[in-house]
Amino acid sequence: MSFKCGIVGLPNVGKSTLFNALTNSSKAQAENFPFCTIDPNIGVVPVPDDRLDQLVKISNSKKKINTTISFVDIAGLVKGASKGEGLGNKFLSHIREVDSIIHMIRCFDSEDIQNVNPNVNPIRDLEIIETEMMLADLESIQKRLDKKKQEKYR
């Protein structure tokens, strides 16, 4: 059972850079442009564990197999994503599949990196994302509850 962590955050906070660093690959194109991730990129990473190395030594094993964890690079969300703003809705559905969410938050000043909001404010940024996810939930709950009601009357 490999666990999936989805990396989310506003555009241009460094998600693809982190994803590349984690998966040691250049699969995600990290470019300084909002919405450069179109399909979620999945990277499977071996989990480093010193104990495993010790055991290999003792048992004289031919092979060492780490357990793995998967990271999913999910495209930047913006305010209004649950209503289809940005590349919104489609990506919210990718988040549903993951076991945990990694919130990437911008905590650096830089002239070079475009920011969708005019200043750096990590708390506001997190609240935007959390609100979008809540709105998406709200919509899906409403839909499912309506469906249940219809079934009842049938």
């Binding site: 564990d49 003792i58 197999i65 969410i101 905590c107 899906s140």
Partner: protein, 213 residues
């Protein structure tokens, strides 16, 4: 029987949805769901707001060690239990270096551990995961399980036949295995236990499953 089960699940999911709806509409904390339902059932609801979260504050090079005013504000508000301060840019650079260079470079900029390692550790904590091992001359392998996992379920990670035909798990705690340098002496020194279906696997256990198919 199956139908009845399905109905129960539906009922439970319906309840989760209703509680979540109430929480969101009235600005209440969704944590109360985690108190009432177990993770697996909650996950089936596919709601985003209740998924376990890790916060990664992306900083520049000079803030790696001590953070900055942004991370301070953030941690003051959301706590440091699930928060990590990482520089994605630096991580990327570290990753392109060879092993020795990597260690030197990390020392130079005052980084004790790579972001990947920190993130994985946080992830394991947040998701309440543990590791058990299988070890022999052919291979040594780490397996991920949920905390408080019963032995047959752990066996099922390797193969479903192991779970179905589970008889016993030969079990050695990690420290005992290291102290006795392997299966054989652990056994002769009485450190190998035969555990049954009710055994809760501990983090680091070295296991060998006996099963019958």
């Amino acid at each position: 029987m199956i139908k009845k089960n399905k109905k129960n699940i539906d009922k439970e999911q319906l309840k989760i949805l209703e509680i979540a709806l109430d929480c969101i509409n009235n600005n209440k904390n969704l944590k109360i769901l985690a108190e009432q339902f177990n993770n697996k059932i909650l996950n089936q609801s596919a709601l985003l707001s209740i998924k376990p979260k890790i916060y990664v504050c992306n900083v520049d090079e000079k803030s790696i060690q001590n953070g900055n005013k942004y991370t301070e504000d953030f941690i003051n508000k959301f706590g440091d239990k699930n928060t990590l301060v990482v520089s994605a840019e630096i991580e990327n650079q570290i990753n392109q270096l060879e092993n020795d260079e990597k260690i030197n470079y990390m020392k130079m900029i005052g980084l004790k551990e790579t972001g990947l390692n920190m993130l994985i550790q946080k992830g394991y904590n947040v998701l309440e995961l543990e590791t058990f091992f299988t070890s022999g001359p052919e291979e040594t392998r780490a397996w991920t399980i949920q905390k408080n996992c019963l032995a047959p379920k752990a066996a099922g990670e390797i193969h479903t036949d192991f779970e179905k035909g589970f008889i016993r798990a030969e079990t050695i705690a990690y420290d005992d295995f290291i102290k006795n340098q392997g299966w054989l002496s652990s056994k002769t020194n009485g450190k190998m236990r035969l555990e049954g279906k009710d055994y809760i696997v501990k983090d680091g256990d070295i296991l060998n499953f006996r099963f019958n198919t």
